[in-house]
């Protein structure tokens, strides 16, 4: 546990993190873990975060050392895409039983599990995740991994991020530490070149990185490693030979970028592939960093030409939606919109942003939002489901963009909703992705079901019929049980009152 505590201290003190830089020494030492309120907490644990960051590495066997729930309740639930291997979607867990826990057989079972995986699947690497219970009973997964690696002659990587260590975000960072400690730099590529880059924190959700890669290909830029989206183990292991890096989801992998810069002199920038101007800026930044590292400066001109062409095409396509979406009000409810260029593009075609959450945004981010939105009232830290529901059912937004967690708040409030988080069905990155996002917003808002679901039953609209709560299944169930107790429960209205 002590080495884990040291690691946690280390990742909390992240000099490249905007938020962290804004703190004084004492606050920095306390780390960025927010104490959770029992009975009012939401979000995943550190193990969840580690798995999210690493599991999209497609040819690795991901083995979760835990009782059933950690893996059994969560496997194959994210929308990252692979262009080849499918092993990452096969779930492996030691599924510890009571006997294993009581008899202390965890380590032995883990070792045997690694052997079984090696024999049946021959993966280039096995990633072994520790979890609350195996941390609590003191299983030394580092030792087991080391022994297994020696014995079986393959990379066996311990991922020390048990759920009780903290939040999902911490898990992201601990996963990055595991890559730094055990993976990156262990394979020397024989084809390193001046146009090699790493993309860090890109998950290839719905395959959206494939909307970007052809742009880079066109410029002659090679993606040495995209971590983790559609990655292969060897890509990651040889990522230290890239010339430059872009950090896409900076809150999750900023520590990885900074340490790779320190260790292997790979400069990085934070950017985004969401939105038109951000995509262009990212391409520019990549080219500039490569030139700084010795690439031929002619790439800068080619990049500008490509950007001009692609932007023109995208804006052209978006223009079609202006008439349909002009004046429509968008509520953004996500951990932190990293890409203000999405907001910018939506506003550009005439949409209005009526609110955005800034829970995970940095101070600078907030300033930028204020400038774009020109109204502080539209910023909120986090909105309780009840308030969100109230806002939406009063019709204060035409669509909510959020993650799956609040999906049904919007839908039950009969408001159009679009998933912009990890379970989403559509790729939104790059120029085409932005057009796709707007197209999906349009499809959601203009769908003919909205007028149908908001329509009350004809018999409920007649004057004189009670209007406080139109009948739901809920009530019929209660009314029904009230009838059962005709002898003991006085009236139907009493039980209706009771359910409110």
């Amino acid at each position: 546990m002590t080495s884990l505590s040291a690691k946690i201290q280390d990742v909390f003190d992240e000099p490249a993190c905007d938020k962290n830089r804004g703190k004084d020494a004492k606050a920095r030492k306390e780390g960025c873990a927010r104490p959770l309120t029992p009975g009012a907490a939401a979000g995943g644990c550190a193990f969840d975060g580690a798995k999210i960051v690493l599991q999209p590495i497609t040819d690795v066997a991901h083995l979760v050392h835990a009782p059933l729930a950690c893996e059994g309740n969560s496997w194959d639930n994210r929308g990252a895409a692979s262009s080849g291997p499918t092993l990452w979607r096969t779930s492996f867990t030691t599924d510890l039983t009571e006997l294993d826990v009581v008899m202390g057989q965890g380590e032995r079972k883990l070792f045997k599990a690694i052997r079984e995986i090696k024999e049946a699947y021959a993966p280039p690497a096995v990633f072994v995740y520790s979890t609350c219970v195996t941390a609590l009973i003191g299983d030394d997964i580092e030792a087991v991994c080391k022994r297994a690696a020696e014995k079986f002659g393959l990379a066996v990587v311990p991922i020390n991020a048990p759920g009780l260590a903290g939040s999902k975000n911490l898990g992201n960072k601990l996963a990055a530490e595991a890559l730094l400690d055990h993976v990156i730099g262990t394979v020397e590529p024989d084809d390193a070149g001046p146009y090699d880059i790493n993309i860090l924190g890109e998950f290839n959700l719905s395959g959206e990185f494939w909307l970007i890669k052809p742009l880079l290909d066109r410029l002659g830029i090679r993606v040495r490693a995209c971590i983790p989206g559609d990655a292969r183990y060897t890509d990651v292991a040889s990522a230290h030979r890239a010339r430059a890096a872009m950090v896409v989801c900076s809150t999750s992998l900023i520590n990885l970028a900074r340490k790779m810069d320190e260790r292997w002199d790979i400069p990085f920038f934070e950017g985004s592939f969401y939105g038109i101007s951000d995509t262009s800026q990212a391409l520019r930044d990549i080219a500039r960093l490569l030139v700084r590292k010795g690439a031929d400066p002619e790439i800068l001109g080619r990049t500008e030409t490509l950007i001009a062409d692609q932007e023109a095409i995208a804006w052209n396509k978006l223009e079609v939606y202006r008439a349909r979406l002009q004046g429509k009000r968008v509520l953004l409810n996500t951990g932190g919109v990293k890409s203000w260029s999405v907001v910018h593009a939506l506003m550009e075609i005439g949409m209005e942003i009526v609110g955005t959450s800034v829970k995970k945004s940095t101070v600078e981010d907030k300033e930028r939002i204020k400038q774009i939105l020109k109204d502080d009232n539209h910023l909120f830290e986090q909105m309780a489901a009840r308030d969100l529901y109230a806002m939406l059912s009063e019709g204060k937004a035409d669509i909510m963009l959020s993650g799956g967690r609040t999906q049904f708040v919007a839908l039950k409030a009969k408001t159009p909703w679009l998933d912009i988080n990890q379970e989403r069905q559509h790729p939104y990155a790059g120029y085409d992705g932005m057009v796709e996002l707007v197209r999906q917003i349009d499809l959601a808002i203009q769908n003919p079901i909205w007028s149908q679901v908001r329509e009350r039953a004809p018999w409920d609209c007649q004057p004189g019929v009670k209007d406080e709560q139109p009948s739901t299944k809920n009530e019929t169930a209660t009314v029904h049980s009230a009838q059962e107790f005709a002898g003991t429960t006085p009236t139907i209205s009493a039980s209706v009152e009771e359910i409110r």
Partner: protein, 460 residues
Amino acid sequence: MSRVVSQTKSASVNPLKSSQPLGAALAFLGIDGAVPLFHGTQGCTSFALVLFVRHFKETIPLQTTAMDEVTTILGGSDNLEEAILNLKTRTKPKLIGVCTTALVETRGEDSAGDIADIRLKRAEELAGTEIVLANTPDFSGALEEGWSKAVTAMIEGITRPGERARQSKKIAILPGWNLTVADIEHLREMVESFGLHPVILPDLSGSLDGTVPDHWVPTTYGGTSVEDIRELGAAEHCIAICEHMRRPAEVLHKVTGVPYVLFESLTGLKDADQFVSLLSRISGEPVLAGVCRRRAQLQDALLDGHFHFGGKKIAIAAEPDQLYQYATFFVDMGSEITAAVTTTDMSEILEKVPAESIQIGDLGDLETLAGGADLLVTHSHGRQASHRLGIPLMRVGFPVFDRLGSQHKLSILYQGTRDLVFEVANMFQADRHAPTPEELDPFRKRETPGGPRSSPLARH
């Protein structure tokens, strides 16, 4: 009689199980005004929540005691108390269903003692809210056990003990977790058609049936009322459905003296007949014409459908009671169970599953055993095996996250069995291959039809 083969692998490959606390939480979700509370880290709750949402497509009230490293060392009773009080203030629930997890059970928390203390100390603040505990470590059992333990705990904790005056016509029904919303609605209608008054515990048909409430509700809306659980002892009879409901039925009998009858399954003509006869006997009412008509429709479906089932090889992976439900359905239609995988060897029902052997295992085992089968039957996670083996997948149980409407699929009594016959027959018809001369050539290389498929292990 089937032979149960125990698991020898160390690495579980593609789990079949969902965790035990998840099963308990599901049972609590069938109670009106309830919030299940996982006593563990936030991740335990988050994973279960996401899985519930993916399956039901509903908001799911589910909370956590948010244990961390420090509280794991010092003990979780303060977190438990804080969580309960927070839930009480914020959501005003009628029931908080505490489900323990592997973390607190490994630590050896005395959650029952803690809850007793909290109730005593905070009696005033907690007035009007029942707190029930299910000890459900993730390292044993699965959905079935969790569900069963939660129902048992509610009866032990809430139902008024002692023999009572029986309310004539009142029937307690304890359904297994594998009954869908549609099943429960149908069950209720059937029981009511005999003039009986069913109290169904738990009742997911009230809370997770996909209705749209007109105001924001932070707890479950609909389901069995706490008051109904309290008065369960006034029932004339109890009908338990599925072997895993034997324990709650026995506890109800012990606590209140209500006699029970257990149905291992309500799928299939014979079981439906027995169930309907029992209702008729209890109520003294004749079977209505509409029910007879449904029975006749099922008979007709059996006649039309049996062509498609005869000789078919079926591979099923499910928790014990659901395995029994579907295995008997297929065997009664003339099919053969060539692979049966389940989660535990502890259930009595396994002896009765009509399969030669039953593997305790996971979907990796199903994939290995299912070579040559005509149909896979399991939950949505079977999709990868189905794809690799090229065998169609019938999605049953939990979770079903890649098809809509699983909760509105009927699978019991005459009508549900009829629907199942059609569903499966249609899958077979959709998957039919045109004959080729090569296949039919009498001099072809004679392998067993379907052939032994290459090991899925070689496919990566």
